[in-house]
């Protein structure tokens, strides 16, 4: 009887809720309501049904052997446990997400490194008061005037003025 039950792991809903990003709130709420409904349903059911008072029935039922038959069949009856088809899928899902999360975190770290680099560059820039136009073009390459393409002042297309 005890073998069928996978121990219910305590889920810290508060911590879980913190980690949910705002665009997935609805899904989280649905999951939570389902969980609550199931918990309530489970709590309402007794763990074992009450025992049948065979002595009483044996004394009172006139048909010979009926109670005995019932008792024999009842104790011999094995209620089949429901088959667990989903846990394997969930485990597979978990593995998948572990991989994709690892990838995402990698990419995220790369992005952070890039941002940090740019931040470093910006922070170590000389102040604008001390810059010449040459220094500006070095620090912000997009401001560099293209003297080959536009040899005459203002060295950029008139539309960009």
């Amino acid at each position: 009887m005890a073998g069928r039950r996978a121990a219910l792991k305590a889920v810290d809903w508060a911590a879980f809720a913190e980690r949910v990003p705002p665009n997935q709130r609805a899904m989280f709420n649905a999951l939570k309501t389902r969980n609550d409904a199931l918990t309530a349903r489970l709590a309402a059911l007794p763990e074992k049904p009450p025992a049948i008072d065979w002595a009483f029935y044996k004394a009172n039922v006139a048909k010979a052997g009926m109670v005995d038959e019932f008792q024999k069949k009842f104790s011999a009856l094995k209620v089949p446990e429901p088959v667990d088809t989903q846990t394997a899928k969930i485990d597979a899902q978990e593995k998948e997400t572990a991989e994709s999360t690892a990838e995402y975190i990698q990419a995220s770290k790369a992005r952070i490194a890039q941002y940090e680099q740019e931040l470093q560059k910006l922070k170590s820039m000389i102040p604008f008061e001390q810059m010449t136009y040459e220094d500006l073009s070095e620090a912000f390459p997009e401001t560099k005037l293209n003297k080959e393409k536009y040899p005459y002042w203002p060295h950029k297309s008139i539309a960009d003025l």
């Binding site: 069928r4 996978a6 219910l8 792991k9 889920v11 810290d12 911590a15 879980f16 913190e18 980690r19 949910v20 990003p21 999951l31 389902r34 969980n35 199931l38 349903r41 489970l42 059911l45 007794p46 763990e47 074992k48 049904p49 009450p50 049948i52 029935y57 009172n60 039922v61 006139a62 048909k63 009926m66 109670v67 019932f70 009842f74 009856l77 209620v79 446990e81 429901p82 667990d84 989903q86 846990t87 969930i90 899902q93 978990e94 997400t97 572990a98 999360t101 975190i105 995220s108 992005r111 952070i112 941002y115 740019e118 931040l119 910006l122 820039m125 000389i126 604008f128 008061e129 001390q130």
Partner: protein, 252 residues
Amino acid sequence: MLSRLVLRAAPAALRALPPPVAVGVLHTTRTLHTTQQSLAPVPPLPEKGGEVRHGLIPEEFFQFLYPKTGVTGPYMLGTGLLLYLLSKEIYVVNHETAAAACILTVIVYAIKKFGPDVAAFADKLNEEKMATALAMKNEAVQSLQTAIEDEKKEQWRAEGRSYLFDAKRNNVAMLLEANYRERLLMVYNEVKKRLDYQVAMQTLKRQKEQDHMIQWVERNVVQSITPQQQKESIAKCILDLKALSKSAHAAV
């Protein structure tokens, strides 16, 4: 004669001047390109140019002459030079001189009057440019920092996925458990229903039998009371009543 002496002495004096003063513009002495390694990072260019007196003559000249001739030295030199140029007619006074004098007066007056305002205006323009550039830079720094923060937050969020799967597994386990219990309960209920049905049937049957029997007995008894018996029993009842009433009267 003395003038020729001065003219001849001047180049020699100029050659004797040390190089830094000849550079002129910079306020401090700075040796450039003297060593292999140049100063890096290059220190910023100075905001203002070298000091000048009367808008023309650099301060270094006065400092240079101070040890030998004191404070009035350069002025004496200037006055002497001017008088020499005028008296010897090396500079000839003509109508151009008058024009130059008037024009220069006007120019100097205008600069003295409006100079500071124009300078302030130009500075303001520059300030605005600087301010926009600085604002853009600050914004960029800010946005990068928030981007880094957000990325870190997303990483933290992604770490919480174990909660999701625990919750899902819990759901599945609870569902299975609930199902199993419901089945047990159903079995129990069905068996109990059948047994109770039997018991109820029996009690009902017995009750019906009892009722029927009682009725049958009553009916038969009523039937068996013949008219003769009825008269006898009524007479007996009347006698009993009389006796009872007598004893009742006596009691009262």
